[in-house]
């Protein structure tokens, strides 16, 4: 009897019951995503367009999609010495490995009041550490399979003040899943103290499901648990409404048209001055967005799958607004 009791505590809901609920609500699993969507709709030859942030950036500029300003690219070990001249005069900058994944290897550097470089948490960052980071990127530490890489130095994003109360350190970003050109689901990722300024959900960031019809919050989670307020600022998360929603959706849809990839995650940020910017694209977007939205992806993907994708962005957004809006 005691054993049975202990088991129910360990596993309050029987697995088979969970399975049935997941099935009924159309929650997508990893195997399903990989085989039915990624393998089928993402042509392998198009991957470099999104896996290499430099190529994404170039492509975006050609298609008139706004991206954060590029300060410079460091391709060789001996270019590292030039890094200081590249960032001269900037108020802060961000170093990214062009082929990094999952936010690995991103270093955000701010200018302190004393004019020296510092980390986002205010700790002093000696120039040698910046050079070491650049060297690591070039050596391929952060790229898949250890391929040698190049480092991108970008302008710092000035977070729009609307998000001030919704974030702690770091930059909040918006993830939209685009399937065959249709935006199907969206979430805001808010960094917090527990995530050390990072906006990745598995590192403890807050995920806020966003109503794809109007940009308002529908649900929020942290570490897989539903929450109502931001853990650091205590801001009520249900009050979050993403501004420029229409523009955000258009930007995301345009990413399908420019890459040709059928199933992508588009990461957008809202800059104080430049408005919505494309941060990066992901050809293997994660599944946590379902938890943040408290909704499964499959019902929406199935609806889109039978539609024509040869329609204008306006028509696509119109369809999404009418069909995927959440109460």
């Amino acid at each position: 009897m005691n054993i049975k009791k202990a088991l129910t505590q360990l596993n309050p809901i029987p697995w088979i019951a969970v399975y049935q609920v997941l099935k009924k609500r159309g929650i997508m699993g990893m195997n399903c995503r990989n085989r039915r969507y990624i393998a089928r709709y993402n042509k392998r030859s198009l991957y470099p367009l999104v896996d290499d942030k430099l190529q994404t950036k170039k492509l975006a500029l050609e298609h008139g999609v706004n991206v954060p300003g590029l300060l410079g690219v460091i391709r060789q070990q001996h270019d590292i010495a030039d890094a200081q001249t590249i960032v001269e005069g900037a108020n802060g900058f961000c170093i990214k490995p062009a082929q990094g994944s999952g936010g690995k290897g991103i270093l955000v550097v701010l200018k302190g009041e004393d004019g020296r470089w510092q980390r986002t948490d205010g700790r002093f960052l000696p120039p040698e550490d910046i050079e070491r980071h650049l060297s690591n990127i070039l050596a391929g530490i952060f790229s898949l399979g250890g391929k040698s890489d190049v480092a991108i130095v970008e302008e710092l994003i000035q977070v729009d003040p609307v998000f001030k109360e919704f974030t702690h350190e770091g930059v909040p970003d918006l993830r939209i899943i685009i399937f065959r050109g249709y935006p199907v689901m969206a979430m805001m990722r808010l960094s917090c103290h527990a995530s050390k300024g990072k906006a990745n959900l598995h590192q403890g960031a807050v995920g806020v499901g966003i109503n794809i019809a109007n940009g308002s919050a529908v649900n929020a989670v942290q570490k897989g648990v539903s929450i109502l307020r931001h853990p650091d600022t205590q801001q009520l998360l249900s009050e979050l409404v993403v501004p420029h929603w229409e523009q955000m959706l258009r930007l995301a849809c345009a990413c399908y048209d420019m890459t040709g990839l059928g199933y992508i995650g588009v990461d957008l940020v809202l800059d104080k001055h430049k408005g919505p910017l494309l941060l990066e694209l992901n050809a293997r977007p994660g599944l946590a967005i379902q938890v943040a939205n408290n909704a499964g992806l499959l019902p929406r993907l199935r609806k889109v799958e039978v539609l024509s994708n040869a329609v204008s962005i306006d028509e696509r957004i119109e369809f999404v607004r009418n069909n995927f809006g959440q109460a």
């Binding site: 697995w15 969970v18 997941l22 929650i27 699993g29 391929g140 379902q290």
Partner: protein
Amino acid sequence: MITPTKSGLPYLIVTFAIIGLALIGFRHFVSGVPFFPGAKITVWSVEAKIRFDAGGGSAQANFVLPNAPANFVLINERTASPGFGLHFNTVGDTRYAEWSIREAKGRQTLYYLVEFEEKENPNAVKPTPPKIEKKRFLNSLATAANSVLEQAQAKSVDNFSLARTLINDFKTPNEQAQLLLQNSNAAQRIVELLMLANIPARTIDVVLLEDNARQQSLNMWLQVFDGDKVTVLDPKGLINPNTNRWIVWEQNDGAVFDLIGGSGSTIGFSMMKKQVPLITSLREPEHEPGLLDVSIHSLPLSEQTVFKSILLVPVGVLIVVFMRILIGLKTSGTFMPVLIAIAFMQTSLLTGLIGFLCIVGTGLVLRSYLSRHNLLLVARIAFVILSVILIMAFFSVISFQLGLTEGLKLTLFPMIILSWTIERMSILWEEEGPKEVVRQGSGSLFVAILAYLAMTNPLVRHLTFHFIGLQFIFMALVLWCGTYTGYRFSEIKRFAVFAK
């Protein structure tokens, strides 16, 4: 419902499964390989020792060999006869060994050793009835023969009971029978009388099987035909006595042994009963392997040993596939656990585990020092490889000094793989913290131990080695896993929040 593209993959999976099942079925039901390693067979090994005196010139000896008896399957035979040339010949239904020597003088000894498995022989050679040759008995013998035959016929209903009656009559002979036995033996006379009654019959030479018997001679038994039916009668008159206790050595109406250029031959049989694991008997193939019967056993013994471990790798691979696709366990390096498991098989589990943890632990400490020096990737990995080799040497020496020879087996770990593991874990440590390192590291070790347990399991080893068809089943399973789009077990936990 979305269905995967019409690629015909289900057909491929089913085809692989059918090929696999067919090969397994063939190996089991036709070649007789058991599914369990413990299965044993009864083997009789019979040794015939032939001795004779050679006359000084050339000598030739023909020795009749048993040919596919009904209740035994020949699994192995060999001879020992130094100095003699040897040929195996088959004439009609008779198989014999022919020894010959250019010059031989004095006592000669020839050995013939044969091993029989005790089981129904599907390819048994059916004896053919001899031609009826009616012996002409003269005068009083003719009268006696007719009288004995008539009395026996009156007491019998068919050929076999007639033969049995005759045997009994000669055991306690009346006057006429005694007369017949004066110039011949009973078996010979019975055959002659049966032939007189138009019944095909012959005397045969039979070896009685008795465990640990030595210097046995051949026994003369009767073989009687009735149309298609044939029976064997022992001297007591029993028809087809307990079939596992004797082997028909000769049934060709001729002599068992034929010698030219020698004299004074004797033949003695020794025999022994053994319980042999079936697998040992399989190592000695008795026939040319057919196309369907391709097995690793046709390779030389040393290559067989290599394949024995290679054929286990798919088991480990299958476990990794299951763990990742169905369970959703994270491992560092997809198939690294399989390689670790192979190393464990050579080191034994405990030594392997301790060795692995020592090497990776020390490697991580060294690597964390390296990461401060901005080395280029290839050089860094190279340095880790060199350190791993030194660590191995160091631990081997230490354990040897402590009297633990087990430590010497550390060298069996795949060095390059270990170095990559260290590198990957070290990066993981820097990016995600030690918790993730422990999580993925223990995941890898868990899968490695599972693979090790499966790969050392006697049943698994037996099945993979003896049933090549299993590899096709593995292929089918892996392909099926590749089409599985359901939830991973870990996702049930991950998404449990939806069910609240």
